[in-house]
Symmetry: D2
Subunit: 206 residues, 4 copies
């Protein structure tokens, strides 16, 4: 039995929905034969989000960590390729923090690559006729920050955990009332894509 | 029992799918209690498409005509507000025609407004959490041409038929392999939106 | 000596610049050998803008009217093809008016085509290496409203005036501080495009 | 007297212009009081481009290296923040190479940050009313490859050279005939932005 930690964020930036949270909650009721899912809902607070997540990693030592987040203006399900060592927030987080161009961890490596099977995840989601592609930037906000922090923790602690981040576009509920066009997916598609990403990641573990 | 004519186009511009055709074909199996649906599949040929459609109007005298077409780069289900009297094709149609800036019907009015309940259609589709908005241009290709031609025929023949055009975005099947981002909807959403547009249009008839 | 009326709007929607006004004001100092320019700065007030413009038309009987406006999210200089008989404001005008789906003039034609040489204008601007293309919708806000009102006035009064509307993208000054990407042109390019559009329109008069 | 190496690429992907080359060539005629410019035109060949550039670094030991490249679909002048250790070409280079997901240098660090003053460069260009912002991905094509290779070389050789990459949007000449909208800048703006980036980078050297 594999242990998989799935994280998602609460809404932010004036939204009342975060597609990552909607999709993650549904995963509680999905059965993955060979895995036990632990779902963690994170605050959009640059310090607290990291603390909560690293504590869980320390305690549970999961085999896989899939971090989910909202990518406004994304067109596709985007497994992220790389996390970089910088915080540069365009808007404050929900706790009011807004670092501008600081390293996440001074003296630590510039970047870590995702250790999830990102090419296989994209292929599996595309086969289900849901738009997906690899993204080369997770931005410089909380999504990148938690992604970087988890990868660095795994490296420093010499854990075998495979981990990575996946950005989800807005879901239709978020774009319907907006006066201008935004790309979005149906909630049904977002949920199915997360399920497929989990399946694909579990296949990847030895 | 009301008679509703639903038209859709074959694929064009190198696509092997036309979302209007996919959605229209499914409507054959959908029951609309108070209406009889007649579904017409049109060639992307500026002359033949009009001939076939006007013949059907003449023979069947439908109460409602809903014309469907593909709107690449559209983000939302777009009921069109207005048809204008011009053909200006950016690419040739499937028969090789490519008029540049000609009137569709010389001496006829500059434009006709849709007589479908476009605000109600948008509202009904949005309530189902599918992105929709009114569009103010149907372009100057075949979609606008058939829309204009039908509205002009109804006016000249003094028919009571309510008619209009709805553009559908690409469906995911069309965008998955494209190297760059295109907006798209799931086929499920496209089908449901067309069903709701029909329902809403039928409610609008006295 | 030909008389040319050039109109432009004040800033709106929170902007402190309107590129149409910036470009129009510069035209005061540009010499057009065969024409006398009259430049009219208009309030973003759906009633006052029309009143002021039609009064000027009545008094001055210009040979050409070129109406300029800002098209946020436009990528190119856009001579408009057609004005439609509808007011449907997404945001209020500067006087607080926000009509939703009303005709501009009840019982009047659905639309009027521009009588400016729009293909020639586009070609002339493109030759100067400034992006330009014909637009098929002037929207349903004040730009379309003044365009429609002027075309209808000319038709009703049986004037020989050639008239039309040109949308200008944002200029860089407006987009530099915006946190997300917007298309924009340099003010230099916007000014040159307006100068070329005037030149081209004057050539078109018999 | 400081030595500055400026690199630019030849056209690719069917284009006949590369804005980086247009801008770099003009710099030959621009005077930078405290610096001597060396301008290197690179082939879009993943092996040759690197070989030529690293040879020049070895021979000339410049104080600053500014690498320029074309970023189609970019809206702004984009100093890049980070180079990552991956080649994943969406299209072949001009020599037909198309690696898919390979490390640039096996066993080397995941990434290097730009050592140019990217915040200052952006601010200086914005003050000149030209759109600019920091980009968090240089992609996974030749632009990222040369950027990564140069940064790694500087690190391994323990050089003091400050280096980084700047993506330029298309220039208008490239977008005017394209049937769909692409963001672009005037050549004048692109040239001025490169001049300002050089100025700003030279100020940054101790």
């Amino acid at each position: 039995m594999k242990k998989l930690l799935l994280t998602a964020f609460e809404p932010f930036a004036g939204e009342i929905i975060n597609p990552s949270l909607e999709a993650a909650r549904v995963m509680k009721n999905v059965s993955f034969p060979e895995a036990q899912l632990d779902i963690l809902e994170l605050p959009v607070d640059r310090f607290l989000a990291i603390e909560v997540t690293l504590n869980r990693l320390r305690e549970e030592k999961p085999d896989v960590v899939i971090m989910l987040g909202e990518g406004s203006r994304r067109f596709r399900i985007n497994p992220e390729r790389v996390a970089i060592n910088v915080d540069d927030f365009r808007i404050p987080d929900n706790a009011g923090n807004q670092p501008k161009g600081e390293p996440i961890i001074a003296g630590a490596p510039a970047a870590y690559f995702s250790t999830l099977p990102i090419y296989e995840i994209v292929e599996r989601i595309q086969k289900a006729k849901i738009p997906a592609s690899i993204s080369n930037t997770a931005g410089t906000y909380l999504c990148n920050r938690i992604f970087y922090s988890v990868m660095h923790f795994i490296a420093v602690e010499q854990m075998k955990t495979q981990a990575g981040f996946i950005h989800l576009p807005y879901i239709h509920e978020q774009t319907i009332d907006k006066p201008i066009d935004f790309p979005s997916l149906s909630l049904t598609d977002a949920i199915e894509a997360v399920r497929l990403a989990i399946e694909s990641s579990l296949l990847g573990i030895k």
